[in-house]
């Protein structure tokens, strides 16, 4: 599951970079509005996914840390 999310995330970033590069090098920007629109949508999806993933990972790490500490204290007692 985590690998699939990671692959999707990297693919999303690669596509976003491709769209941005395309947008920068377009000689007449008015010709392809969907390049810009898709870049905006992909970037938003990536940022929202990152916020959610980071919050979950942070919570998991904190829980694990507290658990280890509490159990170490319990064992010592």
């Amino acid at each position: 599951m985590n690998k699939a999310i990671l692959v999707g995330f990297i693919a999303g970033i690669a596509f976003f970079v491709r769209q941005i590069v395309k947008a920068i090098y377009l000689e007449v920007p008015t010709e392809s509005p969907w390049t810009y629109i898709s870049a905006c949508v992909i970037l938003t999806a990536l940022v929202v996914a990152f916020i959610e993933w980071h919050a979950r990972r942070h919570h998991r790490n904190i829980c694990r840390d507290i658990e280890v500490r509490v159990k170490a204290v319990e064992e010592r007692l």
Binding site: A23, I37, L43, V47, H59, E67, V70, E74
Partner: protein, 255 residues
């Protein structure tokens, strides 16, 4: 009703209660939030009619406006929660303020980046240093970064809470500046889309409803994100208390 609200307020203000109740609220906010975003994005990108002035390019509004609105809302939540924490010494308020900062920073970055992409396609420039809306939004990004840096620089949580709350409240002056910048000064940026005198700037409901859906959807999703982060923040602050210890020992790793 009033008694129920008072009871709910006192329950939510207590860290153990908040920690136990918040997963339900997260679910009730996240599910409708992401469904509304999905509906609004599909309806806005596929079914909404093309704008007369901007053509297809106006569709960037469905990601740019919610991001910009949330960047300001996150800051206001941070400042108000900081103020509540300072005045009423509510520990949970400081946890909420600290949790709102990284989300607000991400949405401010998103507002600036999508705005820049939109600007490149309509104005022909990615950035305009003299534009008041762009610069005030950039200041907002720096305020979020400053707030987080200040919190990170002070080891004592109580002192960090107080100092960062003062910074958040002082920085709140930037919010009306961002909102009214397009009216007070000459700007490349267009005027307000929804909060316009004499009704919305969007006359076609097929364009307006998807925009409202993504705005409400992102607001609900933001609420879920905020609660999720506040839960972690509460756990960090309360890690030495008896209820956290009991929770760890009773749940066997599933907090």
């Amino acid at each position: 009703m009033w008694t129920f609200l008072k009871k709910l307020y006192h329950q939510l203000a207590s860290p153990p209660h908040f920690y136990r109740l918040s997963p339900t609220f997260i679910l009730w906010l996240a599910v409708p939030g992401y469904l509304l975003i999905l509906y609004g994005t599909i309806a806005g990108l596929v079914y909404a009619p093309v704008d007369i002035v901007q053509g297809e390019r106006f569709r960037m509004i469905y990601v740019h406006v919610p991001a910009a609105y949330l960047s300001m809302m996150a800051y206001m939540i941070m400042a108000i929660a900081g103020g509540i924490g300072l005045i009423w010494r509510l520990k949970l308020a400081h946890a909420v303020a600290a949790s709102a900062a990284p989300i607000g920073m991400a949405f401010t970055f998103l507002a600036l980046a999508t705005g820049s992409i939109w600007g490149a396609s309509t104005w022909g420039t990615w950035w305009e240093w003299a534009d008041p809306r762009l610069m005030s939004e950039l200041v907002l990004l720096f305020l979020f970064i400053g707030y987080m840096a200040l919190r990170g620089a002070i080891d004592d949580t109580t002192r960090a809470d107080k100092a960062s709350a003062v910074l958040a409240m002082v920085g709140a002056v930037n919010i009306p500046i961002i909102h009214y910048s397009v009216e007070w000064w000459t700007s490349l940026h267009q005027g307000s889309t929804l909060l316009k005198e004499g009704g919305s700037g969007m006359q076609d409901t097929a364009q307006l409803y998807p925009l409202l859906a993504v705005i409400f959807g992102f607001t609900f999703a933001f609420g879920a994100m905020l609660l999720r982060r506040a839960r972690t923040e509460v756990l960090i602050r309360e890690r030495r208390t008896r209820w956290v210890k009991e929770l760890v020992l009773s749940n066997e790793g599933d907090l």
